[in-house]
Symmetry: D3
Subunit: 323 residues, 6 copies
């Protein structure tokens, strides 16, 4: 199949040209500080399931603006001492799903949290979290909501939720604050990179076929949505290219990667039409911490699936001394 993008060895040598805004750190520092300032309550209620070997909890915590954000927390029923934590973020359009889904981390001895994505959660898995903030004129979807101003951009709120999730989880006495990992695929991988770049409490980052990396290249190489929402936006708003990319620089995972220190396990698919491999390598090659990457040569955006989960479980168990 014709590869949609660069192949090796070009991928390994690719350097993203994404610009780093001068006030990148300040923007995120003050954004997170404001969110913490907004406060809000954390609620944890056991979910009604038939599960016995693990237990599932319905969590509500305050995200950006103090808005209530949902998630599932799943714990092994039998455990001793503080648990290492894996927080997972969800791919584009999906939500946290149901309480009994995705049990492999909890069944392996981790506290596992799956965060809902504000406003999303209707497309391929179900969510229950609102995004109470509107937008200037945008393309259906989330990529161009508020994209003309970095303060209004949708992902400012979502990335902040993801950091605030860590805040909420670290407040639980059965979580080990020294063993915090984040993961996710596609959009969830991008959020993981963002959280890892913002929050030094995170000790391991596992982004799979991450989205939200190297926007300038992505809009020129992606074959399928959602990067193309940006293309369609600019096809109508023909005068707004500069404004759009000025905003996107604050949300580009290449920039978060440049500032990251936690060990990272990436994956990339060489036939990925949604998150072209050069955009993933744009972030990976820029990643400042210890890092490794698994290539899936014949996969499209589905990437490594269970194979990569298996690799993550082994890698993180070793890193965190589990099992």
């Amino acid at each position: 199949m014709p590869f949609p993008d660069l192949v090796q060895p070009e991928l390994g040598a690719y350097v993203s040209s994404v610009g780093m805004p001068d006030d990148f750190v300040q923007f995120w520092t003050s954004t997170i500080a404001d969110a913490r300032q907004a406060g809000g309550e954390v609620s944890i209620v056991q979910a009604q399931t038939t599960l016995t070997a693990v237990q599932s909890f319905d969590v509500t915590f305050p995200g950006y603006g103090g808005h209530p954000i949902k998630g599932w927390l799943i714990l092994p029923t039998h455990h001793e001492g503080r648990l290492p934590l894996v927080a997972q973020y969800i791919g584009y359009g999906g939500g946290r799903g149901l309480a009994h889904e995705q049990l492999h981390w909890a069944a392996s001895g981790f506290a596992y949290f799956r965060m809902d994505t504000r406003g999303q959660g209707s497309d391929w898995s179900v969510g229950e979290t609102a995004d109470p903030v509107g937008s200037t004129s945008s393309i259906p979807g989330f990529m161009t909501r508020g994209v003309l101003d970095k303060n209004d951009y949708y992902y400012r709120r979502l990335f902040t939720d993801a950091v605030r999730a860590i805040d909420a989880l670290l407040g639980l006495d059965f979580v080990d604050p020294e063993r915090i990992a984040v993961c996710g695929d596609s959009q969830g991988g991008g959020i993981s990179l963002a959280v890892g770049g913002i929050d030094p409490r995170v000790k391991a980052v596992m982004p799979d076929v991450p989205f939200l990396c190297d926007f300038p290249r992505a809009v020129q190489t992606a074959v399928r949505d959602p990067y193309l929402e940006i293309v369609r936006f600019l096809a109508q708003h023909r005068e707004k290219k500069a404004a759009v990319f000025e905003t996107l620089n604050y949300f580009d995972c290449v920039n978060f990667a440049r500032r990251s220190k936690a060990p990272a396990l990436f994956s990339v698919a060489l036939m990925d039409e949604v998150c072209p491999p050069s955009t993933v390598y744009g972030a990976f090659n820029a990643y400042a911490g210890e890092k490794t990457i698994t290539e899936y040569e014949f996969n499209n955006h589905e990437g490594g699936q269970g194979y990569q989960e298996r690799q993550q479980m082994t890698w993180l168990s070793r890193l965190f001394g589990v099992g």
Copy 2:
């Protein structure tokens, strides 16, 4: 081509089963009253164009919640006395476009207003109006934004904007308050029907291939988006059918049609895969005022295009005594 829906004579006999909520009138009365209460300023600024035979003005007026809504007002340069008004609403995803577009109404002696659609205006024509209100979990697009509660539903805000546009235009001394018409195709046709059903100042309604009619049938017959956004929403939110359709009843143009009195000129396309003809006839057959409909037998959702514009200009000029 296989017709996607009913054909004649079934269409002419079709009666929609959409339910009328008991508090339908009250809901809309208080919604409009609240919006008027919210107040806001009207601004009218001449646009920079090369036009000389007509003149184009950039209008901002307060819509739902007092939010600023944009539109173009185009007037014939040479005119005497008060002008009849045609307000046009835009199809799904589009915006008001540019100042020099769509001149045929002004060039025929009408004051013509083309209202921007909040939040939309990025997909096939450009808009500049924000929708500052967020949403619970929804499908990309506008059909399911806030759909779980009639007070939060996106179209509550949009229909209110459309009525408030009439408020703003009636405040202009060159507009004849006795000769107000509304028109639009697809979503714009649906908005026209809603405004005609809410606002007795409207004296003519010209919906083309109208959208937002007979939701229960539409989700079962539409072949292409956007009605299918509702289907996709319910494919994930499997338990929320009742809540969704309870909300939609307040926004279904079948219900507005049942309460309308102004003369109406409809059009319908018998091969329409987006707004299936039975849904249009659901509204047309329910329409309580004087009415006529043009059928385009071999057209899909593009409907009558210039042919229907020509018919509208003739019909409305006669009705309003123009030319």
Copy 3:
């Protein structure tokens, strides 16, 4: 969206016209007896995973012809007494996947077995089981392999494997022989119905959007593969319609349903283009045991997904007195 098939109340009233061969019972009795005669060893080896709350085992058992068939057996780590068993069969093209996947049954206190599908296991999840038997001329896929003779048909081997899996599992001392359930979606649902119709040890059947039901109607209503493999076969082998449907009668789940006695929980999706709802109702309406069905009105072949899993876990836990 235009429904691809019948809607209610026609679905509830639909009676399949599939013919029951005179020697149907005899065919299956001797087929299973022959397989048992062929013998073979059962092997159970613990899989290498990070799992602790549950344990996963790599099972090999003798299927049709004594051919070695793989599966994963997953057990709750902490349990007392004999465990109720859930055997799951896989959808078309997939395989048993990896050892750490699909943990919700084991985590709910069941012994859970996921059987590999001979020859398949390359399309959307991975398998490791060969089908050492060839075929007369056939369409790529499995629907027409050996379809000209009931003794050579692919599904004779696969259904037999599924019964032989029960044989193997009942030989384990931690399995409760009085609480055996089978489930699966699509092809897996069809296999469940077949096993439930052949094997009286099965005490609960949970077919989701089952495939392999009511072939004569399926080839006329399915919009997408794999039923259409049969259509394509007959489009070339124009003289073989009678031979093909004579074979298929022995494998049609309508016939298995007519002979079933275990309580059954079905699901069906009304927009299912792969397994049209009338074919599912063809089996459901014919089902001779106690039965209930969940309709997913706005879903295509994905059906109920996690919602249906949740319902199954509740239904079966109650039926088997678990939790």
Copy 4:
């Protein structure tokens, strides 16, 4: 989105390899002379519309072979002195449409003429002009009609019509012969370039995303029709490549561009799958007159639409001293 063709700076540097036939000028000189020789009447009849600020006329003039060609002439109702003229040619498959459409040039103080396209006018807008000449074996469409002989090729007739339109319009006393502009998009842009290259009376050329440029490259880069009609023709007529391209050289706008002197305002879309940007640059880079080009980076073949119209109106008003 993967760009279908070259990007900058390659585009700016691209030089077309289209060959210039020795008798190119002579071919066109004698073609036009023959058409003038054939004679024919010009008829101008006011159209029945509701328009008042502008007036629309139904024009018939003699084109190639004296064949009657239709067009709409639209004038500002109030004007003094001779009017500058803009002649527009139509995109592939369309016709002149209806009398009230496309008013922005007349409303800006220009005499505006929209020429019908012989034989076309059925696909996306309506026309009324026959092409009474047949063809050797050809692909449905117009690209290969008579393509085996330059004298029989469809575009010989169409380009001649376009020059003869200028002849007809210059005969009107309210048209200023010193201020003649031509424009059009896609096929209309190609015709504009051809007319500008043949007829020195033309003082401004405004081709948008022009078609009919650099055929040898176009057949290798276009992703969608109509250039691919030529590919399909040669896929069957496998021995006729030389004959086809020998003909096309006489109609390639690269060659007209090489001979043009009027100022030109081009536009190009970098994601154009119909008229790939290198083919447009093939003509632009070869253009011998004063020239400028607007790039629409994120647009496909729709190009600049209203944005480009706005730019044209400003550019031409300045050039011709209007407004």
Copy 5:
């Protein structure tokens, strides 16, 4: 697969509503007479091939207007006495192809003639025959060329060519004038029906999945081109439905079938999306001569292919006493 049209027993009972023009016979009588009047030469030249068991000749004969029409005549090398003749007409878009193709009739002892289709012959097989007559505005393709006037319609010329081919072949001394058959699939089947309805010299008609039958139903049931060219034409020329169908009545094979007397062997495909089965039955049920039809239940427009050829060879050999 969902059948695109009626199924049995509805098909067998279907009666077309196509209207028979009063002057239908007169129109065709005078059309053929005019063509004969126009005269022209027949030329027969042996083709350069490696064939030895059969011989292939390049034929040119005068068709409508005396225009030169091509065809291949293929004869068994060894034969005695006069040969029965099979004339085949070609499907839409194709041409007569090459001299060595389609040998089964000649190899079975028939004189076989494959007529080229004027203007076509570029799409899927190659032709060499021009259609020197132009058209009013039409959709790319042949269905709407001249469709506004029965005298100008493309198929008037093509059907006349097909009758004139018989004239030319009957002039050859090795052809048996009492054993003339016509055949073809799709468009070729329609031409066969037309020739059989016009020309009493034809003694056998073999239309496969015939096109050009029952236009009013065809435009409402066809899923794919070319009937849909008419739909697209009327989607733009919205006022011309009556004119179009008035013309089409003179070319509808339902009307030719009503006047036919020769024995006929039809075929029809029940999943045919191009020539829906009800349109074929519209002609078959109306056919006035002795008739039989083969149904291909699981085929789309490819129909019976070699199976039907085999049946034709057997049927015709018996009818004509060959072999």
Copy 6:
């Protein structure tokens, strides 16, 4: 149209990197020897047809494992002396078809044999030959059947059948053993190359747009199936790339080409999305015998069709001194 692959002059210079296994010759020598050892009967029965100028025979011969393989043998009715033989192999998915099809070789004085393809023969033409051997887990289709072991791979059996066909035909006294040619397109072209590389009795090879050439490049350049079956297999069986390509080396026609000595006439299509031209040139450039190639610049996988047949007939007649 964008070329899917390399163009000239890169194609002419392209050198495949396919590795030659050390035991390649030994593998094939022993494979063929084993098949001959397995023995089996040849049966030749005249087919029931209307054919007189040629005669068609239903042949069954022993292939790999002695399995019965079908084919049609077609001979000119009138002939003297021994006939040169052309054996044709069939494209992917098809079968030998019917007895009266493809007569041009026999009608040109050749004994012509069309071999059925085991297991295939259901997709676009009909076959009657079983493949009695099963497979490990594979993608629907034939490309990955047994691909994990060279001894089990499907094409081992098919290539062996093709050599054994020559064995069977050489046993006929009317066949000239010094004039044996093989041909085929796509898969048939690949088989031809394999037979030519294995069997020195073959004196001419005519592969058209051959498949099964240069697998490593093919999986990276093919746009459409069947090479992509391998990609899909490896997308699930993520750890088996090495095993798959180790097997494929034994079946890659680049390797057969390197060992071939018979004169060869290739064809290639430059827009071929199924068998990209570089893969064909990979084999052609490696071909060790005398060779020529015809390029079809504007064709996709249909290639040269009748044009290439004509060229083959001329080329082979000259080479073998026929006619």
